[in-house]
Symmetry: C2
Subunit: 257 residues, 2 copies
């Protein structure tokens, strides 16, 4: 099943999603951004899509309208957009509820949330993206499932409350594990040491966690309750109060759990 | 250059290191553990090594003695072991100093620290292990370099002070990123959700961090300074004070750095 789709937004998600949808055989009719030059940056990646900076889509041929703007802009854009009869409006946010689209002119609403960390300019295989879907209308949900399946084999129908839990879990698994690596980079840089020597360790640790579960994969001074090393490390970090406190708190949580 | 090597210890490191050294062409003459059945678990993985539960190595043919016991047991075993003339004693710890071997009967001492997360039963390619080496004796250092090179292309001569920094950095990059995944698993389990949906996200995030650096790879509500989502997530986590505090502290550190 091929859809005609309009994209509202020109950020990381739009940059990745629009060409992927086109490659999957769908037609991107329009791309909207408040600043038209931003919309053009996306349409330039596509075959024949119109760049727009106004929210009047009453003449659009699209059936599905994907709202891929910043979370805080979702309610405003949803309220202002003028959509044709029978249209489906979805947003791509991990945190915003379905209700936030409730005052829009869409006939149907839903959520089409790609659970992935998007960065402009970095190639990404959508096969590796789990889509979290939601709609109160069964037919809309089926269409969103078909749309997701055209991109990836991983799709899940998830209620807003669960989507929030998943988003919190994703912040820990992705943003926070990334920040642990960031702190590690800083410790190495400060000492004039080559961060590359840690890369095999990180790859092995994460592979192990994903294979046998992070509980079983844990090693290191905290799980061994090696209090002398914990004390040593904590003193070593006293040049940065915040990092020292992060060290203490996570070590304690490893010991307690 | 092939060495005759004795292994003292029968934990994760010994379990991995002994067969790898043998595969690289070295000879493992003996394996010591306080409990001989533990030593036998290692010698069973080898061609013809003697399992021992006493520390008298005066008749050993080995030149290099690798002390792979728990950190806290290192000083005691180093003090008690009886070594032949001309022997090199090294330990495999990321935290203990070189000085801790100073009262041993070894002619030379050093450090042979494999920077990796070892779990018994899990296959590991030593090509992916960085070895951190140290010795005050130049000839010993050259021998340790040759030994490390026979296993891996990554080896670094590192002073004890830098080794401590590397170990702290490794705790963040490996143990703590693992714990972030652990917390994420718990959040999903608590909600009855399938953790598998997060795996592609984790793989993409870590790959990105290792390629472009974790600073550039960061995404999510904290780096966007999306305070409403941070507040929401923090309230969501109020069933567990420790995890809520970890959420707050790391988010703040992402914002500040």
């Amino acid at each position: 099943m091929k859809f005609k789709i309009a994209i509202l937004g020109a950020g990381n998600v739009a940059w990745h999603l629009a060409p992927a949808l086109e490659s999957a055989g769908h037609e991107i009719t329009e791309v909207y951004a408040r600043d038209i030059s931003e919309a053009i940056k996306i349409t330039e990646r596509l075959y024949a899509s119109e760049a727009k900076d106004d929210l009047d889509f009453s003449e659009s041929e699209a059936e599905i309208f994907i709202l891929a703007v910043k979370d805080l802009a979702i309610p405003e854009v949803a309220d202002e957009v003028i959509l044709p009869e029978g249209s489906i409006l979805v947003h791509t946010s991990g945190t915003m509820s379905l209700g936030v689209l409730g005052y829009s002119s869409a006939s149907y609403t839903g959520i089409f949330y790609p659970l992935q960390s998007f960065s402009i300019g970095r190639k990404l295989d959508f096969e590796d993206v789990a889509f979290l879907l939601e709609s109160e209308d069964e037919e809309t949900l089926q269409k969103l499932r078909k749309l997701a399946k055209s991109l990836s084999s991983m799709n899940y129908v998830v209620k807003s409350k669960d989507r929030k839990a998943i988003h919190v879990a994703a912040v820990f698994a992705s943003n926070f594990s990334n920040h642990m690596i960031r702190i590690s980079e800083e410790i190495m840089r400060r000492q004039g040491l080559d961060f590359d020597m840690l890369k095999p360790l990180i790859i092995e640790q994460i592979s192990k966690a994903l294979q046998i579960g992070a509980k079983n994969a844990q090693t290191g001074p905290a799980i061994r309750e090696d209090y002398q090393t914990l004390e040593d490390h904590h003193s070593f970090l006293n040049y940065n109060e915040s990092i020292a406190e992060i060290y203490r708190l996570i070590s304690q949580d490893i010991i307690d759990s």
